[in-house]
């Protein structure tokens, strides 16, 4: 028996635009079902890394593999949640029809869609808002809608690009817990980009820190905090506090 294939594998991945080196020699392995958080300052190439895993960008050298297969173009098995929900949603489609989009693209028969869409909307707490246009929803609700749309793809891998960066602190915490609940139900592999150390520690099984100019892996630590996580007890856990201090010191050294 061979060992289970990595959900995501990056081998010596580098990317440059002209003479501008963005990422260099990135090696990373993510197991199926693992929740990995990538932190780094702006300009460290963390979003670029996510876009390469999504198949939106091709590395200049090295390889990006999903379940052992090289990524050449986007796949519906991989879903992306962007930070700018206001641009990523279709403003002319109601909440219901926005969730319908991946089902249409995936060729699900129209008769099977309504039940699936309502189930997803209920799951993210938008059951009573299916007839609203994105412009009529709050920021937090729009981001919930984008998450429901991503889940509609039934992805093996969920890529999230600073999804809560534009939300207020209360909404951010609620959505963190919702994402943890939703992905643990399906054992989805998550690649979560953030610049918030506490968020990374709270959510992740592992945290990878990127150094900038050019972006490269500076540090890769396991987060042995018990699950399910809790906004109060987890954040007060001695191990959480110790890791938080360690991460802060690392990030300070990187950006010194």
């Amino acid at each position: 028996m061979t060992a289970a294939r990595n959900a995501i594998e990056l081998k010596e991945v580098s990317l440059s635009f002209g003479s501008n080196q963005i990422l260099t020699g990135i090696d990373m392995r993510v197991e199926p079902g693992e929740f990995i958080c990538v932190i780094g300052a702006s300009g460290s190439g963390k979003t670029t890394l996510l876009r390469m895993i999504a198949g939106l960008l091709t590395p200049t050298s090295g390889a990006v593999l999903l379940h052992g297969k090289p990524v050449r173009s986007p796949s519906r098995r991989v879903a992306v949640v962007f930070q700018d929900y206001g641009r990523a949603l279709l403003p002319w489609r109601r909440a219901y029809a926005n969730v319908s989009l991946p089902l249409e693209a995936g060729g699900m028969p129209a008769s099977q869609r309504p039940a699936r869409i309502r189930e997803l909307l209920a799951k993210v707490g938008l059951g009573n808002h299916e007839d609203k246009f994105p412009g009529q929803l709050s920021g937090g609700m729009q981001q919930r809608l984008q998450i429901a749309r991503a889940l509609a793809q039934e992805p093996d891998t969920l890529l999230m690009d600073e999804p809560f960066g534009a939300l207020d602190a209360m909404t951010r915490q609620t959505l963190q817990d919702e994402v943890l609940r939703l992905v643990s139900e399906r054992k989805t592999t998550v690649f979560f980009v953030t610049h918030d150390i506490e968020e990374a520690l709270y959510l992740g099984d592992r945290v990878v820190a990127l150094d900038s100019n050019p972006g490269r892996v500076a540090y890769d630590i396991k987060v042995p905090l018990p699950r399910p996580r809790d906004q109060l007890t987890t954040r007060e856990h001695p191990e959480f506090l110790r890791l938080r201090r360690e991460m802060f010191e690392i990030m300070n050294k990187i950006h010194a």
Binding site: D84, W92, A105
Partner: protein, 252 residues
């Protein structure tokens, strides 16, 4: 200061009443001979007679029909070609120079060509109406496709949507506000060219009615026809504005 809608309507009606008042003054002091400019009262009597006795109705319908046919056909052609140019750089490379050559040609310059090709008939009028009114909607469609949010293009790539699916699910809905604005401009052009076509071909319509009235010194009938043409333009524009509001409800 924010003006209420009611006040806007009152002001709009007042504007029309002032124009009618001036018209009345000019004619009652005979600043212009009544042979050429009858008073509002005489004009509206003629208009009433034409509508009640029914003489003006077939002409009005014929003009509206001609305008709408040409406009709808032009809109379909414009949206189809515009979408094609919008999603395919190959189609754009093929079509753009030709379109840029045709676009500045005045529709009136096309009329002799149209007469030569399809004859002095309703087909010629339709052709000219379509040719003249296709441009605003075509340019609007191309513009709408060119300004799709890049994030949505990525979403379509991530979902592996076909080009056709992209057109119908993202490109066209995104272009709808532009397309509607283009179609409003097109409708005005369509009305103008429908009347010009009637003047040339003598086909039944308000344009022909106005021309005959003028040749026979029936000034009141002439102005009755012109008022009806104005009303067609006004009503169709308000109708489209109303449709805009309903279709663009998502803009809030």
């Amino acid at each position: 200061m924010i003006r209420s809608r009611t006040l806007d309507i009152v002001l709009g009606v007042a504007g029309i009443l002032i124009l009618l008042g001036l018209w009345h003054l000019v004619t009652s002091y005979e600043l212009i001979s009544r042979v050429f400019l009858p008073g509002p009262a005489a004009t509206f009597r003629s208009l009433e007679r034409g509508i009640v006795e029914g003489a003006l109705l077939p002409q009005t319908w014929a003009t509206i029909e001609r305008m709408l046919q040409g406009w709808l056909l032009a809109s379909v052609v414009a949206i189809a070609i515009g979408s094609l140019i919008g999603v395919s750089s190959t189609a754009r490379a093929y079509l753009q120079p030709t379109l840029e050559f045709l676009r500045p040609l005045p529709a009136s310059a096309i009329i002799p060509v149209a007469i030569a090709v399809v004859g002095l008939s309703w087909k010629m009028v339709l052709f000219v109406v379509v040719f003249g009114s296709v441009w605003p909607t075509l340019l609007a469609t191309v513009h709408g496709f060119a300004h799709v949010e890049p994030r949505l293009v990525e979403v379509s790539r991530l979902l592996q949507m076909s080009r056709l699916a992209f057109i119908f699910k993202i490109g066209l809905p995104n272009a709808v506000p532009d397309i509607l604005a283009g179609m409003r401009l097109s409708l005005t052009v369509a009305l103008i060219l429908a009347v010009v076509g009637e003047l040339l071909t003598g086909e039944l319509g308000l344009g022909t009615a106005v021309l005959h009235a003028s040749r026979q010194y029936r000034a009141d009938d002439l102005y009755a026809g012109i008022i009806l043409l104005g009303v067609i333009g006004l009503v169709s524009n308000y109708g489209l504005a109303l449709a805009d509001k309903r279709i663009l409800a998502w803009k809030g």
